[in-house]
Symmetry: C2
Subunit: 117 residues, 2 copies
C-alpha cells in the first residue's frame, strides 16, 4: 500500500531493550533498497550498548534521550538527525517524562545485532 | 558528523516546485546506501506531477497535503508513511495554513526527474 498512518501499524516488542517497541513502516518486502521503522522507548526505558552489521539513519520525532555512539554521548530531541555507521557500538537512555520516538532506516543487507553489556 | 539538528541545516530552493525547499539531512557523501532529506512546501505551494528513476520512502512530520501517486490521490498529515515506487508519477498540493513537511529517503542510485505537466 502506498500510504499508511503510523497509528494503524502493529507494535512489536524489542526484547533486547527495556520499554522498547518497533513499528515496521516500510518493510523490505515492500521496498527494494532500505526499510523504514519507528522505535519508541518509554520514559525510563533504554536500549543497551550494541552493534549492528548495517548502518542506521535516524530522525527523532518526539521525546528526549541520551544516545551513545562509539565513545561519544549526545543529548537528542525532536528534529535531531542521527547517523550510526555499521559496526559502531550505540545505546539509548530516555530523558524526561515523554516516550522517545525516532524513525530508523536500514539498508537491505543482512543485519546481526550484538549486545555488548 | 554523527548528530545534527534539522534547524542547523542549510535550506535549498527546489526550482521545479512552488514554495518548495529541501534540507539534506544525511547525504550520499556521509552514508553509503541511501540519503535522508526533508522537504518543506509552504502553505499554498505545490510540487507538480513528476517521475523519478528511484523510489521514495517518506514520513510526514507536519502540515497537510494532497498527494497524487499514479492514478490515486491521498490526503496526508503528520504520521503518514508514503511509498512512491521508482518511475511512478507523483505530485503534492498543500492543504490548510501550515507548511507541509516530510522526510524523504532515496537510494544511492542515479536519479533523473521528469516533470509531466
Amino acid at each position: 500500500m502506498s500510504v499508511k498512518h503510523i497509528d494503524q501499524i502493529e507494535t512489536t516488542n524489542i526484547p533486547n531493550g527495556t520499554g522498547v517497541t518497533r513499528k515496521m513502516l516500510i518493510s523490505l518486502e515492500e521496498a527494494p533498497n532500505f526499510a523504514m521503522r519507528c522505535f519508541t522507548i518509554q520514559a525510563g526505558g533504554r536500549m543497551p550498548n550494541h552493534t549492528n552489521t548495517v548502518e542506521h539513519e535516524q530522525y527523532v520525532i518526539g521525546g528526549r534521550a541520551q544516545v551513545g555512539i562509539g565513545d561519544e554521548v549526545f543529548e537528542v530531541q525532536k528534529g535531531n538527525v542521527v547517523y550510526i555507521p555499521a559496526g559502531v557500538p550505540h545505546w539509548y537512555t530516555t530523558l524526561g517524562e515523554e516516550p522517545f520516538e525516532f524513525i530508523c532506516l536500514v539498508p537491505n543487507q543482512p543485519d546481526s545485532t550484538t549486545v555488548l553489556e
